[in-house]
């Protein structure tokens, strides 16, 4: 019996068992019904959504801090803390007014000065914020409820920047907190969001507790992702960190927790069989797998070598390694943008379609001048998604005749080594793998991995004037048709220059007990609208 079978077996028995009361914490029925116990995707190890940009921090921060605008399920930014906005005819001056009733958790009102300080800190760390900062004349508080952002040139994507859900989000904090250096961590956690952070109960690596903020005034509109009325229907949300998936599955079946954010595909069939548990796709925007090549050093500094990879790469191999045989969980992706979103395109994607051609790949590789030197492939073994992709890549490169130096390591080491620009023999690298949340690949503004501005680009440092030209064209576009045309051209250019190799589009599940209702599909777990019966 291998470990995986044992895990399944262990989790499977729970599906036959009735829910157990023995393991429940000593809470009264009423209190239990008002406490939602949630198993997050990762440990909440720090809690500064500007300093640390991990998704788990963003997800927790969305409970505690509010944003000026919020992206809704149609990917449009909607007013959230803002009551109204005006933009001058020349597009250079934006004036915003805060809605009434906004209050921080310490009882202080939310004022324009808090917003100005928060945006200043955020804009030092965020890619769209940096663009705004570069064209900023001034960002000032006009009065307690009004602030103004004066620019040197128009920025049509302003509302998207302020409301986007990619990290770091433009969360609003009290001025004293927001004045913290953006590269240093805050040490208090006061926000104006629908829940308060119970700092005293925080055990990093084990538990984080959020309590309903009684003075929060939700908007009147229906909630939709980060937009609309954030009505919290429970008193407490407890994040219970369970690092072992089999233990998390067992705890869910036993009723020790209510909602598990990301069950692994191996355990989903077991959970689906349990009559007390619901399982569904967590986020229709899913994820995009990434095979990232270093554009600075041979062999992948030659576009022919990169094209050789695309010619031979089978996305099906990668996706089956990632999510198994459940074909509803993945689809091929002959492009870079998230499927079923407005900018999705397959323009230029022929190279990723059809039968895979190892012979043609070998020919291209030979033309690139590759002569058998080792290719360093960094593979984080502690991240199942990167490990599965790394194993497939090693096999693929060997089939192409490459000499693979497979560096099996952990994510901490990959995170450090991938930043090295030195040649692979001197601490650098040629290949590493990651994945991008689909929500971060819906348009060029939030998509760092598609940028190709050399030294300023994401790891791998691709340079492609054609790609950068289309990114600029998208930002300057005046309507959707222009935006769409720019993205089509961008996709084609990015495939021609092989900014990176997409390994496919995949979805993941979320699971909850049936006494929980109101869970919405989206790029992060939304706790507003979620209720629990005893």
């Amino acid at each position: 019996m291998d470990r995986r079978t044992l895990l399944k077996g262990m989790a499977g028995v729970g599906s036959l068992a009735a829910t157990g009361g023995l393991s429940m914490p000593a809470l009264s029925q009423g209190a239990a019904a008002r406490t939602l116990r949630f198993v997050p995707q990762a440990n909440l190890a720090n809690f500064d959504p500007v300093w640390g940009t991990q998704y788990v921090v963003r997800n927790a921060a969305a409970l505690v801090w509010d944003t000026l605008y919020g992206i809704d399920a149609t990917l449009q930014p909607q007013r959230q803390m803002v009551e109204s906005e005006e933009v001058s005819d020349d597009g250079l001056i934006w004036t915003f007014r805060l809605r009434p009733g906004l209050k921080f958790h310490d009882g202080e009102p939310v004022l324009s000065k808090d917003v100005v300080a928060s945006l200043a800190r955020w804009s030092a760390r965020d890619s769209m914020g940096l663009m705004l900062k570069a064209i900023q004349n001034e960002l000032t508080a006009v009065d307690d409820k009004t602030f103004k952002w004066a620019l040197k040139q128009p920025y049509p994507k302003m509302l998207l920047a302020l409301g986007k859900n990619s990290t770091p989000c433009a969360f609003i904090m009290p001025e004293r907190m927001a004045q913290t250096d953006p590269f240093k961590q805050i040490n208090e956690y006061i926000g104006s969001g629908p829940m308060k952070f119970a700092k005293g109960e925080w055990v990093p690596g084990a538990k984080a507790v959020f309590e309903k903020f009684a003075d929060y005034v939700p908007r009147q509109e229906k909630a939709s992702w980060l937009a609309g009325g954030k009505q919290v229907l429970v008193d407490r949300v407890e994040w219970v960190v369970i690092p072992d998936p089999a233990t998390a599955a067992a705890a869910l079946q036993n009723g020790e927790v209510d909602w598990w954010e990301n069950p692994i595909p191996d355990l989903v069939p077991v959970l689906k069989k349990n009559r007390n548990i619901s399982v569904d796709i967590a986020d229709p925007l899913g994820n995009i797998g990434s095979f990232r090549m270093n554009h600075l050093h041979p062999p992948f500094n030659d576009v022919k070598a990169r094209r050789a990879v695309l010619t031979a790469l089978s996305q099906e191999d990668y996706m089956r390694a990632l999510v198994g045989d459940d074909t509803s969980l993945w689809k091929p992706l002959p492009g870079f943008f998230t499927p079923d979103t407005p900018f999705y395109t397959e323009e230029g994607g022929e190279i990723l379609k059809g039968k895979r051609d190892i012979g043609a790949a070998k020919k291209l590789l030979a033309e690139s001048g590759y002569s058998g030197q080792p290719v360093t492939c960094l593979v984080a073994q502690d991240q199942p998604i990167t490990k599965a992709q790394g194993d497939v890549t090693a096999d693929l490169l060997k089939q192409m005749g490459m000499n693979v130096d497979f560096v099996a390591t952990d994510w901490g080491t990959v995170g450090s080594r991938r930043a090295q620009k030195t040649p692979p023999g001197q601490g650098g690298w040629e290949v590493f793998h990651t994945w991008h949340a689909g929500a971060d690949c819906v348009n060029p503004a939030v998509y760092n991995a598609i940028r190709a501005n050399g030294d300023k680009a994401w790891f791998g440092w691709p340079t492609s004037p054609a790609v950068e030209k289309e990114v600029t064209a998208w930002f300057e576009a005046k309507n959707f048709d222009e935006e769409k045309a720019a993205v089509n051209r961008l996709n084609k250019a990015a495939l021609e220059d092989v900014i990176y190799a997409p390994t496919g589009f995949f979805l993941s599940y979320t699971a909850w007990r049936k006494n929980i209702s109101g869970i919405a599909k989206g790029p992060l777990p939304f706790f507003w609208g979620v209720s629990k019966t005893a």
Partner: protein, 313 residues
Amino acid sequence: MVSYILRRILATLPVMAIVALFVFSLLYIAPGDPAAVIAGDQASPADVERIRQSLGLDRPFLVQFGTWLWHILHFDLGTSIFTNLPVASLIAQRIEPTLSLMAITLVLTILIAVPLGVVAAWKAGSWVDRTIMGFAVFGFSIPVFVVGYVLAYVFALEFEWLPVQGYTPLAEGFWPWLKNLILPSVALGCVYIALIARITRASMLEVLQQDYIRTARAKGLDQRSILFVHALKNAAVPIVTVIGIGIALLIGGAVVTESVFAIPGLGRLTIDAILRRDYPVIQGIVLLFSFLYVLVNLMVDVTYTLVDPRIRY
């Protein structure tokens, strides 16, 4: 005795200093970068570098070591890079579950392993001996996480007698506290029980060959008194030694056990800190465990005087 204990405590200082230097150096040369982990996957290389600078990780080795050592000398273990909380607070949050787990495991082990070893020695060569030693080999060979999953499978999911995961502080009641620790303690104790049972058997076998045991039998003492009063006491020195050495096994095993049963103890804190390269936390925990280990060894040495009057310091 008092002067011996004081000398031994003083002797721990250079040991701790060497451990401190070793741990700091090892982490310094180890691959990985906390700044990269903090910055997240979407961060730019420039962001990573700025974070590294703000954490002081770009300073020379000696400067970093000197600063850290200065804080240690002032009983300040530093601040976690990730949580921004004092390392001492993080350890304080986590020490109760780990000590509870180790204490229950130790008690369970002694209560089970020592009698098993004594009986195996008494019935040496019989089916009883072979069965006990067979279980010992099995317990010694099977990984902690496998035992943990099987126990959870049977006693938590099938019978629903015990919880799958978590920890309840002792302050919230004895049974809630114990309930969460039974399965992890048994899982963690398996290896330890096997080890102590085998050592007890070996030591007892040697003692049972001695003349005074034959004399005791000749004068008509009952078997229980011979085994547990006369023989066991004289066989205790190696058993106590191995129990002490086994504390290291417990510390290592706690790391896995706490992960399988989601117990928020020092073992999980260690794993999390290593994966994130949270250097101050790793250094603090290693120093603490080293100190505990030195202390346990001292206690073992002192215990020798209780079981063997010939030993005097």
